[in-house]
């Protein structure tokens, strides 16, 4: 902390009023660069985990244990030619991948990694997150339309319908969280889960159905298996990014994985107590683990959810489109609607102990 203050002071003296934007950009870089690194290595881990689950080694040729594989993939994609289809809308075709990636990164502004460790301490943080995640669909729709290709168009339509449907269930699940926390500030939501009983104080216990719905809706929102109808290989080639090559494709890839990490972070913050120690206040183990910094717990919880993403992909067959829509509209939305009322009523009784 002292080091940070010294840095702030020297920056202030050197640059004066220009220091604030510079300092903000430094903070953004500190968040975005690890996310990009995380995305790169998440692709490696995904292939490794899928490999192990299918009893094969996964990538192990490039570098020791395949550790340089993401780098090799990145270089390959950078060197590839960017092909622009005939009669496509050139400007929108090139803008679409950016529109997919930008909201996925912008949403990170309000995520607290530790107590007070967030880029922006926004009062309406939860609303901001919902707004940002709902913007990601534009990249997909525009990509599908601008490509001038039937496969891309069908993929975009499927994906847009899916994202809009599951966003509702996601929103209602978040309404439950903000009811329980009585705040829309992400930091306050985590602090609301602090108790002397460690993980028993977290919201995944009173809001368990919402926890499950939120995470599954998150899987559907990110177009991941078993909800990856938008890139159904056997039916519509690669869906909305069929026509993309080289870096255009790489940006979509980055956006998808950045969104996965985002959903994992959000689920940890809202249902698993973010940076809180799960054993806090427990005899013996509580005292020992309290010394571990909160960032470690946060990253641990995120890794757990990211592993779930990969596990789902290796385990479940793809949904059929009508089954997907049924799950979203006829199962998740009624369930979340009922649970909002249940939580609101429950909070008025003395049985609400969270």
């Amino acid at each position: 902390m002292e080091l940070l203050q010294i840095l702030q002071q020297t920056g202030q003296d050197l640059l004066g009023p220009a220091w604030l934007p510079v300092w903000t950009i430094i903070k953004i870089m500190v968040i975005v660069l690890p996310i990009m690194g995380g995305v790169a290595y998440l692709t490696l881990i995904e292939r490794k985990v899928l490999g192990w689950m299918q009893v094969r080694p996964g990538p192990n040729r490039v570098g020791y244990w395949g550790l340089l594989q993401p780098l090799a993939d990145g270089i390959k994609l950078l060197m590839k030619e960017v092909i622009i289809p005939t009669k496509s809308n050139k400007f929108l075709f090139l803008a679409a991948p950016v529109m997919a990636l930008a909201p996925a990164l912008a949403a990170w502004a309000v995520i607290p990694f530790d107590d007070g460790m967030a880029l922006a301490n926004v009062n309406a943080g939860l609303l901001y997150l919902l707004a940002m995640t709902s913007l990601g669909v534009y990249g997909i729709i525009i990509a599908g339309w601008a490509s001038n290709s039937k496969y891309a168009f069908l993929g975009a339509l499927r994906s847009a319908a899916q994202i809009v449907s599951y966003e509702l269930a996601m929103g209602f699940a978040l309404v439950c969280v903000l009811l329980a926390a009585q705040s829309m500030n992400m930091g306050d939501i985590v602090r609301g889960q602090q108790s002397e009983y460690g993980l028993l104080g977290w919201y995944f216990i009173p809001l368990f159905p919402m926890f499950v719905v939120y995470f599954l809706a998150g899987v559907a929102e990110t177009n991941r298996a078993p909800f990856d109808l938008a890139e159904d290989e056997s039916a519509i080639v690669a869906g909305f990014h069929t026509e993309y090559s080289g870096m255009g494709f790489a940006l979509f890839f980055l956006a998808e994985y950045a969104n996965m990490i985002l959903i994992a972070a959000l689920t940890s913050v809202m249902f698993l107590g973010g940076w809180l120690n799960p054993f806090h206040g427990w005899p013996m183990i509580g005292g020992l683990t309290d010394a571990i910094p909160g960032l470690f717990w946060m990253l641990g919880k995120m890794s757990f959810f990211l592993f779930l993403f990969l596990w789902f992909r290796a385990t479940f067959p793809r949904y059929r489109y009508d089954q997907l829509m049924r799950l979203g509209w006829k199962v998740f939305i009624p369930l979340t609607l009922v649970w909002v009322v249940v939580v609101a009523a429950w909070m008025q009784t003395p049985f609400w102990v969270w």
């Binding site: 009062n123 609303l127 707004a131 709902s134 913007l135 534009y138 966003e167 089954q323």
Partner: protein
């Protein structure tokens, strides 16, 4: 002119430009995307006014959901631009009059001609929560109006579904609930039987 004013003018100029392009863009997809830009820049203006709840809800509801459906419809329509542009000059005076009337009304309602020079908005303290204030107003002072609006919306929704819902008798569909509820015994019958005895010499008998 402080920083906030500069930001306001940037957003305002963007909003007006985008709104103009909505009606002048030749490609309907572009028009819809400019409408999205207009929404986003006006939500920026609202943020400057410390109305963060309204600003973010505008992005969430209009940009995130309504405009997506708009894009959906526009992408699948076969729009004949020439026919749409017919009679543009004929209807221009009428439209311009209407627009002028609306501008006049807005100025009148929002504080008269004197306010054009600009009224400094009152700043709130840092702990002021726009969301909380809005919630308090909606659920106490204006609760009847709010509930009425909600009921109206519900009726509109039910009516829209009732009008468009039709069950075709000739189309086959699956009942997913039934499919999920299926037990093994409904589909598979395990038959227990003795192993068959091997019959020897039958082949040669048949040949005879």
């Amino acid at each position: 002119m402080n920083f906030e004013t500069i930001v306001f003018y940037i957003f305002a100029a963007l909003t007006v430009f985008a709104a103009l392009r909505v009606i002048t863009a030749r490609n309907p997809m572009h028009a819809v995307l400019f409408l999205v830009l207009a929404f986003i820049s006006s939500s920026g203006i609202w943020l400057l006014l410390e109305a963060e709840f309204l600003a973010i809800t505008l992005v969430l509801v209009y940009v995130g959901a309504v405009m997506v459906l708009f894009l959906f419809v526009v992408m699948m329509l076969d729009i004949n631009l020439v026919r749409l542009r017919e009679g543009f000059w004929r209807w221009l005076p009428f439209g311009a009059t209407l627009a002028g009337l609306m501008v006049f009304q807005m100025v009148w309602v929002l504080g008269g001609i004197d306010s054009i020079g600009g009224i400094e908005p009152v700043k709130h303290a840092a702990d002021y929560s726009n969301t909380k204030e809005l919630g308090r107003l909606i659920y106490t002072d204006y609760v009847y109006a709010f509930e009425l609006a909600a009921v109206l919306l519900l009726i509109a929704m039910v009516a829209a579904i009732a009008l468009t819902l039709r069950r075709r008798k000739d189309s086959r569909s699956q009942n997913v609930a039934d499919q999920v509820a299926v037990k093994r015994n409904d589909r598979v019958r395990i038959v227990k039987m003795q192993a068959e005895q091997r019959v020897t010499g039958q082949l040669s008998e048949n040949k005879e």
